[in-house]
């Protein structure tokens, strides 16, 4: 049996698993994936690998007693064994008061994240893609360190109430750091797609090369409040901390940014500039995502923040029942609506400011205000009278993405970007922000 099953093959296997079930309720999750990678540093290949994952997870329940067992062999004897084990574990488990039972069958949107071009990738195609990148650094006294990783996989689930779901997708991510031989310049690029045909490693690498050479001879600027232009790679690592926090339970319990004095939440309140809209949409053409959540709930297009106002917080099925509202699963992707400005136009309209191309080591400092700290990295530039004047030394910042989105000046065109912190892909525009707080200088290049 191949590792990647078609929808029909997955359904047949899952139906077979269910037949062994003697529990009150049973839910089965199935996953198969092939991951290939190639890593290089100092202009040479350092490691490479292929990871094959296949896993079957059976959840059995008796009343509110739940047990889960997993296995990676799919012969009949193994399947029966894993079902029995999950039932034994369920009988031994304490009651889970938050167990909501399995879902009725759902209707899902069509998934669109699978591309043959990526599924067909081989060690040779990875090496070719990397060779195009290395060709640019080797000739120019530059040191390249990069990572190319592709995934071809599917997930499927079935339950004893007749729900069945299947989603196949592919993904390829390419990241590269180019440093000058003397260690005084560094540039970075990261690109991610579902479709390998969209990845041009040479073109991407030339961005890192350009930033590396352009960041040589950085001058120190006093820390303080500056107008900044954040490229999407920099903006996304701040914004995703808002997304991670948009759960109703924590907010209702009074322990997240979305909590409000008096025991209420910020649902319905305007929290950021009215040009800010975040939504999730499994069918977004540039950022397709699974049309169902991990527990089988259907995912639709959902506004989370609309024109600066909190429109939705996610509710687990348990918490929704407690609060008497409809459950809303956490999103599988997130799109921030953009404006129309190009990066060049944003620079041109800036009297005095800083272009930030990447941020690094983002950590929460105060969850109450979503205050984050981190540093600029791999190319930071001073802008004066509408032009990039010179590279500047890196800064540490302490800033909340909420405060930042209240100080919004301009939004550019939204584009697909990979978070260097979480490895998740998003749609994020470049943005100009006033009074962004840099608190100290760093000597790091």
């Amino acid at each position: 049996m191949s590792v990647i099953l078609t929808e029909a093959e997955a359904k047949a296997l899952l139906q077979k698993v269910l037949k062994y079930s003697k529990a009150d309720e049973c839910e089965v999750n199935l996953l198969g994936e092939l991951r290939g990678n190639l890593r290089y540093a100092r202009n040479e290949v350092s490691t490479s690998g292929l990871l094959i994952n296949q896993n079957l997870s059976v959840q059995s329940s008796f009343g509110k007693k739940v047990g889960v067992a997993t296995i990676d062999e799919f012969d009949d004897a193994s399947i029966e064994k894993v079902v029995r084990r999950s039932e034994e574990l369920a009988k031994l488990a304490p009651e889970n008061p938050e167990y909501m039972g399995v879902l009725e069958p759902q209707t899902y949107l069509k998934g669109s994240g699978y591309f043959e071009s990526t599924a067909k990738m081989t060690p040779e195609s990875r090496a070719d893609a990397v060779a195009k990148s290395l060709g640019l650094s080797k000739g120019q006294n530059l040191q390249a360190a990069g990572f190319l990783e592709n995934r071809n996989g599917y997930t499927a689930m079935i339950n004893s109430k007749g729900l069945f779901a299947y989603y196949a997708n592919t993904n390829v991510n390419f990241s590269l750091t180019v440093r000058t031989d003397d260690g005084t310049g560094s540039g970075y690029v990261i690109k991610g797609y579902n479709d390998f045909n969209k990845l041009d490693t040479a073109k991407a690498s030339s961005i890192a090369v350009q930033k590396s050479l352009g960041s040589k001879g950085a001058k120190a600027l006093e820390p303080g409040k500056y107008t900044v232009i954040l490229e999407p790679t920099a903006a996304v690592v701040l914004l995703e901390n808002i997304y991670f926090d948009m759960d109703a339970r924590g907010a209702d319990e009074g322990r997240t940014f979305f909590s409000k004095p008096g025991g209420k939440t910020k649902l319905g309140e305007k929290i950021v500039d009215e040009r800010v809209t975040f939504y999730s949409d499994p069918q977004h053409p540039d950022l397709p995502a699974s049309p169902w959540s991990g527990d089988g709930q259907a995912q639709g297009k959902t506004k989370w923040i609309e024109k600066g106002v909190v429109k939705n917080l996610s509710y687990s099925r348990y918490w929704a029942a407690q609060k008497g509202v409809k459950p809303l699963p956490g999103p599988n992707n997130m799109i921030m609506e953009g404006g129309t400005a190009t990066l060049e136009e944003m620079i041109k309209s800036t009297k005095r400011g800083i272009l930030v191309t990447k941020l690094w080591y983002i950590r929460p400092v105060d969850p109450q205000t979503l205050l984050l700290t981190g540093l600029t990295r791999d190319g930071t530039f001073y802008i004066e009278d509408g032009k990039i004047k010179h590279p500047i030394k890196n800064f540490r910042f302490n800033e909340s993405p909420i405060i930042m989105l209240n100080n919004l000046e301009t939004l550019g065109v939204s584009e697909r970007v990979v978070s260097t912190e979480s490895d998740q892909s998003y749609m994020v525009p470049p943005m100009k922000i006033r009074e962004f707080t840099f608190s100290s200088l760093s000597d790091a290049v």
């Binding site: 290949v45 991670f244 322990r255």
Partner: protein, 548 residues
Amino acid sequence: MKRRDFIQLSGMGLGAMMGASIPVLGNSVSVERLLEPAADAAQKKKMADVALNAARSKGATYTDVRIGRYLQQFLFTREKNVQNIVNAESYGVGIRVIVNGTWGFAATSDVSTAGIAKCAETAVAIAKANSKIQTEPVVLAPQKGVGEVVWNTPIKKNAFEIPVQDKIDLLLKVNSEALKNGAGFVTSNMFFVNEQKYFASTDGSYIDQDVHRIWPTFTVTAIDKAAGKFKTRDAISSPMGMGYEYLDGLASEKIAGPNGLVGYRNSYDMVEDVIFAAKQAKEKLTAKSVQAGKYDLVLDPNHLGLTIHESVGHPTELDRVLGYEANYAGTSFATLDKWKTKAFNYGSKEVNIVADKTQPHTLGAVGYDDEGVPCKQWDIIKDGILVNYQATRDQVNILGETASHGCCYADNWNSVQFQRMPNISLLPGKEKLSVQDMIKGVEKGIYIVGRGSYSIDQQRYNFQFGGQLFYEIKNGQISEMIDDVAYQSNTQEFWNSCAQICDKDDYRTFGSFFDGKGQPSQVSAVSHGSSTTRFNGVNVINTGRKIG
């Protein structure tokens, strides 16, 4: 290969503390399965020889094989509920070869003779393919075979033999004490890891090791709903290379700190700590916000460990220094040219930092590393001067040394081993000095306990650290609890401001249980020992903000 799963911890109170997720390696199994013995050494030797012979016959000039059984038991609770119990097992073989001066690696869960032989052939084929684009051949430091040897973590109580119910009872007791003492919410967790690893190489080593690690922890949250404020306090336990005896809470292992605070050495009293934690989280809700400025910092070992980890541990990893981690974790300011001067003052004369893989109870302690090198202790910073790095067999020649430091580790049989941090610890002061006496000498300072927010640049110059508890020191005495504290400094400047270190009676280890490195990312566990230490004139910022 087996599944690598992740438990998302957002909403479990640990998200901010440890990054996004907890890695689970392997299949979920029954508790009883965790107690079943691994294959015996004779059987594993036979399996290893299959790999060594197969690789040699295909042209490998060096081969090592790791037969690994990795067991994990993780327990998660919140308030009155058990949220999750994970019992996981991962079993397989990883084979690493050198062909034409180039590394190749392959792994398999098929542990039959045919499966192992095929895996060895794959490793050879990968090495051959990669050798076409390799320009510098691997130079491996010599390592004499050690024959058939055994090493076990010296545990008193195997955590996997303790009934799950006993563990749940303790965690739920911890939670109920937290709620009784003013916490609004509490999550408590236990992590147990057992690595049963067998290493063999063409050098003539057959090494059987049984490694245990434990980490009990919690987070309490205090809420002021009317004001819309919340504060948390995490456990000040440390992950350890110990068995369940770490949870005995022995009085003899408690260290009385200032202001009624208690530190824990090699035995942890989880119930006592959570009662303190609940009261302190509540106290934080009304604590005075710090006035930004320069302060002398008195740093507790349970806090200082993370600062050592980030500002000394990572920058002295030789692979980072050389550029192998440039695209992810970054490089290092502690470059070879600085080291070669033999005069690079990393810190003040008080600062002596050792790398170590032998210290009992620590996370890094093993008999041999994952390329068969016997473990040892060596100096990294001596009297303030940078004197060495952390290296593996294929790197140590760059330092002019002929024996590896023993810093090679893989987090699973299916991950390739690479350079990972040994325990990196600050030696205690030689003169008798208690924390209370240290505080007496501070005019304007802050006493910091526990691990908080942390961030450092990619070359490890500029850092910012928070903590769990902050106390203002005025004229030699602790005046009151304060909040919104983070300190920012530059690594060299910071360690040169090190003024005093308490003596060995105050020495304790801090640990990092899931330290991430590499692409694809692997975890490792490492301890950092120190006594309470004073740093003069460090820049403190106020992290409080008003929104709306």
